[in-house]
C-alpha cells in the first residue's frame, strides 16, 4: 500500500549542530510534501513545504530536500536549538487528492 515512513525514530543532537531528519515515501504520484513539527501536547505545526517540481527549498534555519528518483525527503535544521526538540513528521499529498498522508515521525532531542 501507499505509505510514508521515517528511517530514524529518534535523533539526538548537540545544541548548535545541524540536524537532518529523513523520510521515505512510496507513492510516486505524490506531488506536494510538507514537514510538520509537533511539540508535546500540541497539534502539528507547519514548518516548510516543497512541490515535486523542486528539489530544494529553504526557510529560516530549515531546508527541505526532495529526491524523487529514490522517493526521499529530508529536513535539515541548521544550528539546532533546544526549542527544536519535538517530533517531526513528513507528509505527502498525491496529485489526485487533497489528503495529507503523514509519516510515522522522528523525535529530535537537543542536548546542551
Amino acid at each position: 500500500g501507499e505509505s510514508v515512513g521515517l528511517h530514524l525514530p529518534t535523533l539526538s543532537v548537540q545544541e548548535g549542530d545541524n540536524s537532518i531528519i529523513n523520510c521515505a515515501y512510496s507513492n510516486s504520484a505524490s506531488d506536494y510534501f510538507i514537514w510538520y513539527k509537533q511539540e508535546s501536547g500540541k497539534g502539528p505545526q507547519f514548518i516548510i513545504d516543497i512541490r515535486s517540481n523542486m528539489d530544494k527549498r529553504q526557510g529560516q534555519r530549515v531546508t527541505v530536500l526532495l529526491n524523487k528518483t529514490v522517493k526521499h525527503l529530508s529536513l535539515q535544521i541548521a544550528a539546532t536549538q533546544p526549542g527544536d526538540s519535538a517530533v517531526y513528521f513528513c507528509a505527502e499529498i498525491a496529485s489526485n487528492t487533497d489528503k495529507l498522508i503523514f509519516g510515522t515521525g522522528t523525535r529530535l532531542q537537543v542536548f546542551p
Partner: protein, 115 residues
C-alpha cells in the same frame, strides 16, 4: 495571533456512547479538517470539509463518524457509537485556501478515551 481552538481538551466516555468533539477554526478560513493520532503513532487524515460538504474522507471515516458546521464558527466531529479503538487525540485544522495553496493550522487536540 488567531488560532484554532478545540473543546474539550479531554473526553472520557463509555464504549457505545456518542461523543461530539468541537472545534472553532480561524475565522476567515474556509477549509476544515479532522485528523486523529493514536498514542505514539502517526497522524491520520479523517475528513476534509469545504462549502458545507465533505470534500474527501479516509477509510477510517465510516458511518459512525459525521461532521457538521452548525453555525458560522463551530466545526464538529461526532462519533455515534464509540469503540475502544477510537481512543486517540483528535485534531481539527483549518486553512483559508486548499491544502496546496495554504498552510493548515492545527488545534491543540482533544484526547478521547473510550472505556
Amino acid at each position: 495571533e488567531p488560532e484554532v481552538t478545540q473543546t474539550p481538551s479531554h473526553q472520557v466516555t463509555q464504549m457505545g456512547q456518542e461523543v461530539i468533539l468541537r472545534c472553532v477554526p480561524i475565522s476567515n478560513h474556509l477549509y476544515f479538517y479532522w485528523y486523529r493520532q493514536i498514542l505514539g503513532q502517526k497522524v491520520e487524515f479523517l475528513v476534509s470539509f469545504y462549502n458545507n460538504e465533505i470534500s474527501e474522507k479516509s477509510e477510517i471515516f465510516d458511518d459512525q463518524f459525521s461532521v457538521e458546521r452548525p453555525d458560522g464558527s463551530n466545526f464538529t466531529l461526532k462519533i455515534r457509537s464509540t469503540k475502544l479503538e477510537d481512543s486517540a487525540m483528535y485534531f481539527c485544522a483549518s486553512s483559508e485556501l486548499g491544502v496546496r495553496e495554504d498552510e493548515q493550522f492545527f488545534g491543540p487536540g482533544t484526547r478521547l478515551t473510550v472505556l
